[in-house]
């Protein structure tokens, strides 16, 4: 009897939980905050400042999402996730959106049953070498010793790239970025390779940054972006279009500072985006009419977020490069907001 009592209680719990998981957006609104999974530490993308506040490029995306839903960029609960638990945390509902510099790949999209919302940052594998080596291109690294983290895709990319260009290299395996850096500084290898965004961050904090150069070639595609669970298209739409709105805002020159001056703009798309016109576009997603206005007002457009976390003001000094609006020679191109 007791056993059946336990079972029925368990069943009730399971049933109510099942009902509650109807729509992620509705759940989020009812809960009052966004559950966002971020990295356990990736310079520029996700970290905490000295006062304990979450900061970073990925963090700001979640803040924009929260601002769009709640008009409050602080209505986010950040869960730091290591790379080994990130997908299960998303699948099990511990977080509702994963903004954790995750590379968009075919198998992650299909086999792991996730929906990628777009690309927030086009990363790729780069190389750092000492200036004294006198090279200005990766193609001049023929015969060099290269420090490489074992067991990563960077290892395979490196092999592919050198083979394709008919060059040879001597690999020096390391366990992580920290060890690569130490070996490289000790002179054990001529160059070291990892994601270009990490190379920039590491270089700036070396004893003499000018002694080192991040070579211009990018040898792999690492499109990083936020992702959600399969099967909740409404929630995926919200996440995707908040990202698109940030990109459109930069394209149109809308920043957090000047956003209010667009109230009498002639551009109809701006009114649709900011909810300042007659059309309530956001209602199609079940969002407040001025959602995108709030996101841009509180967090800024894509360019501002980039500048704050990865650009010159952040101290990391990554060039915009391809991560620039298509109107400025980059490849960021949002579908129209109509």
């Amino acid at each position: 009897m007791k056993k059946s009592l336990f079972l029925s209680v368990a069943a009730i719990v399971g049933f109510t939980a099942g009902v509650a998981a109807a729509g992620t957006l509705d759940d989020t609104i009812a809960r009052g905050h966004v559950k966002c999974g971020v990295s356990t530490g990736s310079p520029g993308f996700s970290g905490v400042d000295d006062s304990g506040k979450n900061v970073g490029f990925d963090v700001d995306y979640c803040r924009a999402l929260a601002a769009a839903i709640f008009n409050d960029p602080m209505a986010v609960k950040f869960t730091p996730l290591s790379s080994s638990v990130r997908f299960t945390a998303l699948a099990s509902g511990e977080v509702d959106i994963l903004a954790r510099n995750t590379t968009w790949t075919y198998s992650r999209d299909t086999d792991l049953k996730q929906t990628f919302l777009g690309v927030t940052y086009y990363d790729g594998q780069g190389f750092m070498a000492k200036t004294s080596l006198g090279v200005s291109s990766t193609l001049e690294l023929d015969g060099a010793t290269i420090c490489i983290q074992v067991g990563t895709t960077t290892e395979l990319n490196l092999a592919d790239y050198f083979k394709a260009n008919g060059m040879t290299y001597e690999p020096l395996p390391t366990s992580d970025n920290a060890e690569s850096k130490q070996q490289y500084l000790a002179g054990a290898c001529d160059a070291y390779t990892t994601d270009a965004s990490a190379l920039h961050g590491t270089r700036i904090n070396m004893e003499n940054p000018d002694d080192h150069i991040v070579l211009p070639e990018i040898v792999s595609k690492e499109p990083l972006g936020p992702l959600v669970r399969h099967g909740d298209d409404q929630w995926a739409d919200v996440g995707r279009w908040v990202l698109n709105a940030l990109v459109i805002a930069e394209e149109k020159g809308i920043t957090s500072a000047n956003i209010d001056s667009f109230a009498d703009s002639k551009d109809a798309e701006i009114h649709r985006l900011l909810g300042t016109g007659d059309d309530d576009m956001m209602a199609m997603m079940g969002m407040p009419k001025d959602g995108m206005y709030n996101a841009i007002k509180h967090v800024g457009n894509y360019g501002e977020i980039f500048e704050r976390n990865l650009g010159a003001t952040s101290g990391i000094n990554i060039e915009r490069g391809v991560n620039n609006s298509w109107t400025n020679g980059g490849i960021l191109y949002s579908p129209p907001f109509r």
Binding site: G41, V48, G52, A89, N205
Partner: protein, 427 residues
């Protein structure tokens, strides 16, 4: 013939010993240079220590404490430690993201920890043992906050269970086993029918609240302490039961205990932690949140309980069989014999092994950084994610190592004191 006989009339005053036999030189001769081999080893050791400290001492002693970022440190002097990161982040390393205006709560909990273990360790405080019993609940309430009544109601459940047990056993004269069942049923009844209304009622008439702190905000050394000490406190009694169960004559009990111990010991701790963080989410219905810290504490506890059981079994095996026979001859029941004769001796023998397991468990708590809990090691990488401190490795690890060393060394010293006090050599 002249008289050359000489009689000394008073004693010669004591002269100082030869210089080679004076205290310090004698000590050095006897202990460091007693032969050519030992002399050689001494010189090599001194050289080795010199090599180790030659770079470390100037690096650490000249460390910079006032810079605002690693860049500033490097600009001042790139060859010394940049301890400024400790200055900027020590709160996070100690408390994680616990709100700073509530720091008094973990500090108070920490102080009360010593108050609560005093009755167990010092015989003359045994009359305050009740505090050791209420401490776990008090600690949970102080650390997590919220209303006091849910925690209180768990204690009430235990009271209900005990009441059911004693009424059944002493008033209704049921057997122990059946009384235990009745006690268990009364706990279940309490949880289903009484706990809810009780909590609601008392929340209304007597709201005693602390600010609620989410588990996500726990981190740093506070997290290590919570996981470590909960694991230590819980694994000890479970370990004793498992050790007794493994020696039991009842085949079923024995099989369960042996199976449990061998299974848990055969699995790495990190696997159990992954089960706690990843697999349990799949088993539980979606949306139920079972606190990650509690999940980890459970896993750490069962892991170290299995080791503890084997350590204590070693102590039990060391006891002469005559002790069991003598206690049986005195007419003591099984539990009386365990409590009065067997366990005091077995545990005394096992002290080094027990403390060894405790220290190992405490250090193993750093593994939780792999399942994204922010213990000091996890925080180190999070701190490096701030571009201001990107590239700082040694300073953080030295600080974390020092914290752990102080705790583990303290435990080890205490166990040695306990051994001397209890004189385990049976002589």
């Amino acid at each position: 013939m002249s008289n050359i006989s000489f009689v000394r009339e008073k004693a010669i005053p004591q002269s100082p010993p030869p210089i080679t036999e004076s205290n310090s030189i004698r000590w050095i001769r006897q202990n460091l240079f007693s032969g050519w081999l030992n002399s050689l080893l001494t010189i090599l050791s001194v050289y080795f220590i010199y090599i180790c400290l030659r770079d470390f001492i100037p690096w650490a002693y000249g460390g910079i404490w006032t810079a605002g970022s690693i860049r500033e440190c490097l600009d001042i002097n790139p060859d010394v430690a940049c301890f400024s990161v400790i200055g900027a982040r020590w709160r996070q390393l100690l408390f994680g993201f616990y709100p700073s205006e509530e720091y008094w709560r973990p500090i108070l909990t920490f102080i009360l920890l010593f108050v609560s273990i005093a009755p167990i360790l010092i015989p003359r405080f045994i009359k305050y043992f009740w505090f050791s019993l209420i401490y776990p609940g008090l600690a949970v309430w102080l650390l997590w906050g919220g209303s006091i009544w849910p925690v209180f109601s768990i204690y009430l459940a235990l009271v209900f269970g005990a009441l059911g047990f004693f009424i059944a056993k002493n008033q209704l004269r049921f057997s122990s086993g059946f009384s235990l069942l009745i006690g268990f049923v009364s706990v279940v009844v309490y949880f289903f029918f009484i706990a809810g209304p009780f909590i609601t009622l008392f929340k209304y008439i007597l709201p005693i609240n602390l600010m609620f702190i989410e588990s996500l905000q726990f981190g740093g050394f506070l997290l290590s302490m919570i996981v470590g000490f909960s694991g230590i406190a819980a694994s000890f009694p479970i370990g004793i039961l498992l050790a007794l169960g493994r020696q039991s004559d009842l085949p079923l009990v024995k099989m369960i205990c042996v199976g449990f111990i061998e299974f848990i010991r055969g699995v790495p701790l990190i696997t159990l932690l992954f089960v706690a963080s990843v697999l349990l989410n799949y088993f539980l219905p979606p949306g139920t949140s079972f606190d990650i810290i509690i999940r980890v504490i459970i896993m750490v506890t069962i892991f170290s309980a299995a080791y503890m059981a084997e350590v204590i079994r070693g102590g039990l095996a060391a006891l002469p069989v005559g002790q069991h026979e003598a206690s049986a001859a005195l007419g003591l029941s099984y539990w009386q014999a365990q409590r009065l004769i067997i366990m005091p001796q077995a545990l005394k023998i096992s002290i080094p092994g027990i403390v060894n397991t405790f220290i190992g468990l405490f250090k193993d708590t750093t593994l939780v950084s792999i399942i994204s809990l922010l213990d000091p090691v996890g925080l180190a990488s999070l701190i490096r994610a701030d571009q201001k401190w990107n590239g700082i490795y040694w300073e953080l690890y030295v600080a974390i190592g020092l914290l752990f060393f102080v705790c583990c060394f303290g435990m080890s010293q205490y166990s040695q004191y306990l051994e001397r006090k209890l004189k385990t050599d049976n002589s």
